[in-house]
Symmetry: C2
Subunit: 204 residues, 2 copies
Amino acid sequence: MMAGLRERKKEETRRRISEVALRLFDERGYDAVTVNEVAEAAGVAKVTLFNYFPSKDCLVLDAVKDDTAAVVTARAEGQSPLDALRAHYRGMAGLGTGEMDVEGLLTRIRVISSSPALLAGVYQTNMAQRYELATALAEAGAGRAATLMAGQVTAAVTTLQEAFFHRLSTGVPLEEAGRLLEEEVELAFDLLEHGFSSIKGDES
Amino acid sequence: MMAGLRERKKEETRRRISEVALRLFDERGYDAVTVNEVAEAAGVAKVTLFNYFPSKDCLVLDAVKDDTAAVVTARAEGQSPLDALRAHYRGMAGLGTGEMDVEGLLTRIRVISSSPALLAGVYQTNMAQRYELATALAEAGAGRAATLMAGQVTAAVTTLQEAFFHRLSTGVPLEEAGRLLEEEVELAFDLLEHGFSSIKGDES
DNA sequence: GTAAAAAACCGTACCGGGTTCAAATTCTTA
DNA sequence: TAAGAATTTGAACCCGGTACGGTTTTTTAC
């Protein structure tokens, strides 16, 4: 099949659109840039842009995903769902200190957190994840508490992510932010396992 | 001041718009009804409608609110934030069995849960609540776990609400749904206090 | 290499949510 | 009852998103 010229071109176009969009949004603000401008700057028609990205916010949000439900269904035998999730996020936090495109990630975060519309999109994604996690937990035998647990795990992860991103965008060096994140992953899952009564009175 | 004729008229208009909107949305679907139609059916211009409700979804969502942060800041001396919240929601669940406009509530729920746009609006409201609760908890001395706790309480309450509404809209009688809700409030707050390890293996 | 089929692209026109603005209407108040 | 403030209105407009028909590009088959 000689690698498909068509495929390559499509990938290239998609990447270019997304890149141009992020740059423009960062320079002039998400709301102040119209999709027409993005399309024009990317050398493409508006219809084509919407053919690649179903909506304006997908220009920014299509990159961010995370499949927590799979972590539960594919966990090792005998491991509790909560342990599997803890291990998963422990690994992610550790990876955070490795090499990654901090620059690009930061601008993306900056753009997202400065636009209510994009934040709403993130919330929606979170809720979808929560739902999938709930069904995975129900199948894992979590009983009546499955939906509650899914909601609380999702909330915890969201909170940790926000804190991490907030530190990064306020100048905390990547290594320190990563270390704090690792700490907080343990804290969060300890709380999920043993509850808030276990730290009553802790005011570090 | 003779009660202000102007004020009365405004209230009346606002109520009429919101009522007409909910009815139309319920009859033909939120997306299929344009704001022009709502305005016309309410005997008012589109601009006026947007003067009362800043956006289409506010026509449905302006009714739903809940101030959890106030529960924490106004709690009795010596009472822990979590206890105050538990008591608050215990009360709400008990109230659920009292008299209330079940009919109107049900159509509102039906409309909301059948529209992604409205659901997204609900998520945004939740996140705003979470933020306020977090600052209230931080002032209450919850330390590092304040944001985590706020997230998890909000998630728990959201889950309970969803379950309650789901039961109501699938024909479960109000009394039974209320009783189940009361049970689940206790379950949820027990989990928040003592963690999921306390029920490991529970498969009722 | 070329012709036909398929896929991507484009311009244009359109729809619905939301805003702006100046003019017209309605209530208040003196 | 007249001045003045608040509300309402129509019309024009912007932007995100879709529908449609026609044009270009890539593939595939001969």
